[in-house]
């Protein structure tokens, strides 16, 4: 699916603006990235990728930032690096976030194909193989369960039956 490309240091106020934080995720998602790429929220399609440079998700702990992107149907985030807190939030919500040293080679609109667990990323538009750092196995478990809440649900269920 298609790549939406952003620069360095995209902050959480751009991804999930503060003034909409009191509202539900649907409303927040509608305003996602409006200060940097106004057409993003209305044009993005399910399965698309967000591609960025350094330190994606800098700023707040608000997990509505990755949640808004997930709500819009983003399949995975690919960046040169992520802000640590944002990275943890994305994984906890079951949204794969992959570090790719060559993320800046991807152009807006390129078609991408990704295998999260192996860290294999292919740019179908250029034929280029772009390696990503694979997500550590114990975090892949969280992603496979759909995030931390479903993971805990599963664990608590196991505890009561055992």
């Amino acid at each position: 699916m298609k790549a939406w490309v952003f620069g360095d240091n995209v902050d959480t106020d751009a991804i999930a603006p503060g003034r909409y934080m009191k509202l539900g995720i649907e409303e927040i998602a509608r305003h996602s990235m409006e200060t940097v790429l106004p057409e993003f929220a209305s044009s993005v399609k399910k399965g698309d990728f967000v591609v960025a440079g350094r330190n994606f998700g800098a700023g707040s702990s608000r997990e509505q930032a990755p949640e808004a992107l997930k709500h819009l149907g983003i399949a995975a985030l690919i960046a040169e690096s992520f802000a640590g807190l944002f990275y943890r939030n994305a994984i906890n919500l079951g949204l794969p976030a992959l570090v790719c040293a060559r993320a800046k080679r991807i152009r807006a609109g390129d078609e991408l194909e990704l295998d999260c667990a192996r860290g294999e990323l292919r740019n179908l538009s250029t034929g280029e193989e772009l390696g990503c750092e694979p997500i550590p196995a114990f975090l892949m478990t969280l992603i496979r369960d759909g995030g931390l809440v479903p993971h805990l649900e599963k664990r608590l269920r196991c505890n009561t039956t055992s």
Binding site: D13, G18, R19, K22, G59, L85, N89, L152
Partner: protein
């Protein structure tokens, strides 16, 4: 045993290990968790109910309302109502309602002690590191995991040491130090590692100034900011405290050394704290001067502003939102608030307010503001066309007087 950094020692204690190695993944027991009204009850309650789970230890959870206070519409009233009802249901006794910003209220109530391992549902949680506690911010879902299990996983961080010799010059403070570091190393300079502030210039700083250093470690991209505990920590907290410090020869990822006396007042240009340069490079006119937030409106910050504003009048619109009710009361008692009011300040509630883009008072279109807060991301404090410059309380006050960005050293001289 391999010498350990302060960060390693704190993590090792929480993980029940004698020592830890950077990069190793460990599970830590949480001594204290803090949430506010935005990240807390309204997000925890529905999921706890869905899971049929309870708070692991109500005595270890602190709930503080600061983002939506005072309530200003139906949604904010609802968010606060959920918080107030939930703390009763969950048996949370450490509940502070509209008493100030969480990062300032938490230590002022004596909840943080050196040696603790703590998490907060807010990105400025590294503030707690000023007390030699390992504290960092997490999102609402991760906080839910903590609230259910009392534990959290952590990749043991490396430590980056920021060593400051000498002493800060007159009119220069912790905020300038952080803008200087962020300007130099960028918003990801901390690499999600632990950043330890040390050296004679740091030892001389009072607790609230140390809190400002650790607070803005968030903007430097560190997971936490840390300062060893000492007499200053003891005087602030009262009673006996544990002394925690890095081993002298512990391995560091990097050590940067500076002469504190050479740091000038700094200004962070729109729209990033990484755009920081010395104040002498700026002359922009300002419409609004804002002294607010956990970063820039503690008692120590209010005193700095008052020193500059004493017996003078602000040309810019001057807004002051003291970081906590206790700090505001102390500032009233000693006359600091009177100085600010006489300079023309409008006093706002002790909450996150404009800094986080919450509340009724936001920056209008094309406003130019100078602010003692931590972040000037585009649109954060109001209109996307507003221009926000970040600076210390000294520099914000001096700029308010001049109606343009100004060097506080000229006023204080």
């Amino acid at each position: 045993m391999t010498p350990q950094t302060l960060a390693q020692k704190l993590v090792a204690r929480a993980a029940g290990k004698e020592s830890v190695t950077p990069g190793e993944i460990v599970t830590c027991k949480v001594d204290l968790a803090m949430v506010h009204d935005s990240s807390g009850p309204r997000r925890l309650k529905p999921v706890l109910e869905r899971l049929g789970a309870k708070v692991w230890d109500p005595a270890r959870l602190v709930v503080i309302t600061d983002h939506y206070v005072p309530a200003y519409d139906e949604e904010s009233r609802k968010i606060l109502r959920i918080a107030r009802e939930w703390v009763r249901e969950a048996g949370i006794e450490r509940f502070h309602d509209a008493e100030g910003i969480c990062h300032v209220v938490l230590p002022e109530r004596g909840y943080l002690r050196p040696g603790m391992f703590a998490v907060g549902g807010d990105s400025h949680s590294p503030t707690g590191g000023a007390f030699a506690a390992y504290m960092f911010g997490v999102g609402a879902t991760e906080m839910l995991g903590v609230v259910v299990t009392g534990k959290i996983w952590l990749k043991v961080p490396h430590t980056i040491a920021m060593h400051f010799d000498g002493a800060l010059a007159e009119g220069v403070c912790a905020k300038d130090v952080m803008l200087f570091l962020i300007g130099r190393f960028g918003m990801d300079g901390g690499g999600y590692h632990a950043v330890e502030y040390r050296g004679p210039a740091i030892r001389k700083l009072e607790m609230q100034e140390r809190m400002t250093l650790c607070n803005m470690t968030a903007e430097l991209g560190g997971q936490t900011g840390l300062i060893a505990s000492d007499d200053v920590t003891r005087d602030y907290l009262g009673g006996e405290i544990e002394l925690w410090d890095s081993d002298r020869d512990a391995e560091l990822l990097a050590e940067h050394r500076f002469d504190a006396a050479h740091i000038e007042p700094q200004v962070g240009a729109p729209h990033s704290p990484a755009n920081s340069r010395p104040v002498s490079e700026f002359r922009e006119k300002v419409d609004v001067a804002y002294i607010g937030a956990c970063t820039g409106a503690k008692l120590a910050d209010l005193r700095m502003a008052a020193r500059v504003l004493k017996s003078r009048k602000s040309r810019a619109k001057l807004l002051v939102a003291p970081a906590s009710v206790r700090d505001r009361q102390a500032a009233e008692h000693e006359g600091t608030i009177k100085v600010l009011l006489e300079a023309g300040a409008e006093l706002l509630p002790s909450s996150c307010g404009m800094c986080a883009g919450y509340g009724e008072q936001l920056l209008a279109e094309n406003t130019v503001a100078i602010s003692s807060t931590a972040r000037n991301f585009k649109g954060r404090m109001g209109s996307a066309s507003a221009q926000v410059y970040l600076a210390s309380p000294y520099t914000v006050a001096a700029s308010a007087l001049a109606g343009r960005i100004a060097d506080p050293r000229e006023v204080l001289a």
